[in-house]
Subunit: 352 residues, 2 copies
Amino acid sequence: MAKRSGSSQVTIRDVAGLADVGVATVSRLPNGDPAVAAATREWVHAVMAELGDEPLRAARALLRRRTDALLVVLPLWTRCFSVQILCGIEEALLETNDAFILRTLERPADGSRTIASVRRDLVDGVLLASLVVRPLRLARLERERWSAVVADGDPAVPLSLIVVDHVEGARLAVTHVARSGHRRMAAIDRPGDPFADKQRSRRLLGDRQALQELGPERRAEYERVTPFRVEGGITGLHSLMQLPVPPTAIVVGRETHAGSVLRAVRQLGLDVPRDLAGVGYHESEIAELLGLTTVHCPRRAIGRQAAQLLLDSFSGRLAPNEVAVGWVTPNLMVRRSCGAQGTEPGAGSVGE
Amino acid sequence: MAKRSGSSQVTIRDVAGLADVGVATVSRLPNGDPAVAAATREWVHAVMAELGDEPLRAARALLRRRTDALLVVLPLWTRCFSVQILCGIEEALLETNDAFILRTLERPADGSRTIASVRRDLVDGVLLASLVVRPLRLARLERERWSAVVADGDPAVPLSLIVVDHVEGARLAVTHVARSGHRRMAAIDRPGDPFADKQRSRRLLGDRQALQELGPERRAEYERVTPFRVEGGITGLHSLMQLPVPPTAIVVGRETHAGSVLRAVRQLGLDVPRDLAGVGYHESEIAELLGLTTVHCPRRAIGRQAAQLLLDSFSGRLAPNEVAVGWVTPNLMVRRSCGAQGTEPGAGSVGE
DNA sequence: GGAAACTTCCGAAACGTTTTACTTGACGAA
DNA sequence: TTCGTCAAGTAAAACGTTTCGGAAGTTTCC
């Protein structure tokens, strides 16, 4: 059969020899070059399959100046949120046989250090997730000719983006609470890194817009920004309930934060949803466990679409300096925390 | 200064020319070849720094048959657990400038398909995390000459391993509960994929061993294996509390499962820790939120040590067919769910 | 003093692919 | 026939590195 040498590596020359064609003809195959007759193409394909040969990636990369890999920079302080984005990215890449190198960030400040640590020739481009891209970093990307896209990003950044419509998300939450019969809605959100702050302000924007449209005007004193840990939820709630006219519903900026608020509610001897209704952001095991109605981001879609955008820019479907923006809309996962219309806990799955 | 050509790529020949040495001498530098005088080394290094040159990875890989990257296969149904392992891996790799390609698994059955989808020449080896390595897969790894290590694995597998001492973990939990004055301890665990089942049986083993040593003999009817969702916790607890002599403490197989059990406890009008003490496994936001005492796995250390093992086998510090096994011991995060000695909720951070 | 051994470096030949420039043969049009 | 055009395929030159076989120069040992 094959007259391969002692090495286990089958080369393009072996294939060419066996198929009785030139090496160039073989090489043209995986690159989809049209200058090869259909019959020849098929014949050579068969020989390649027989020999179990696929072009060696390193040799290919050397000549094409392409690695078929991309860099993913992913924050971890958002925990499971990012992981779902990652899954989406992987999904998109699996279809095209590309790979990705991952760099996770544990603190917001790690961002620039991280990108700098990756050699430009290791990957074809970079996908930044849930990050603020500072002008300095942007300049660096520009200078070193990176192809870059941002997943779950700020629409003001001049890069290709997948944007989550947080304004609409907040609107969903408020509308839902209003439909459940509430008029006095408070908002508790959390301070955070610059990125989280951007998200928060967009949520608050949607929140206010929706309230205005619906009629029940929120008073300024119904808004709270309290730290993220358990005690933050407690102090936030206490200060709200001590108002002369306390709210009857609360929208909270994250599901774990909502968890701490619920805890505080119980401490006050109140019942959810009888005395107080609530909606949180983001979907998690906690939300399911607590029966909390939440606004859910399609994180997987974010990842998949962002990766697709980057692949498009590699393949030339996107001009080098063209930026594309895709929008993704959250949806509402209704549970018990706003009243009877929700499902019983445990009836639904966390899902994606 | 440099007389580089139009291309932006600085080659080894540019460096050699400018430094007035042969290309071989330059090439020896990053490979740590000792056959180059200290003075020369320094001088050439300076020139390389000046030109901003580093060897092109693809060209290097072509000749060395090394990619300086490894594959990480990581299950996602364990959610945040895996992510922490990933952080550890990244940490170890960052020091040596290696990269990794990630493949996540969403269902246990995806395992073999996933490894098969990665070309052998893309990476130098594979790190399998929290997985059962079936004989068939093992044979494949052997046949294709993969270097492989398993993080958080089953000690029976004939590969290099980092093993978590779950027996000791269970012992910690039981000992803690016993010290809090309890004698009648129940165990609720969950069924799962083959891997989780292995973990569970090791936990139960440690559990029984510790009980035997401590004196209070568990009766068989105190052990329950119930499904993972909310209703699983409820039925498990109910059937335990309806026993003629109900237990006074429960050890639960995972923190989210413990969450659903706690929920059931409240439904029965009981108080934790007054009427019933509890310990869960694994550390998470849920555990902190609920004030649940848990057994904590040092997941980061698992990842870091496993990566280190793989790097060792690349560098020859580990003989090709030598297997190394490292043990990692869990520790106890004491909170309120076993009595007064725990800290108040919110006082501690999730840590790790 | 000369051979042997060691140190330090050099030039050139790989590595397996892509790509460029060129050949060949077939087919019409002039 | 002669030329140009086109399709299909070929041979050879890259790509940037590592490494092999030497070759100087220096030291060591009889």
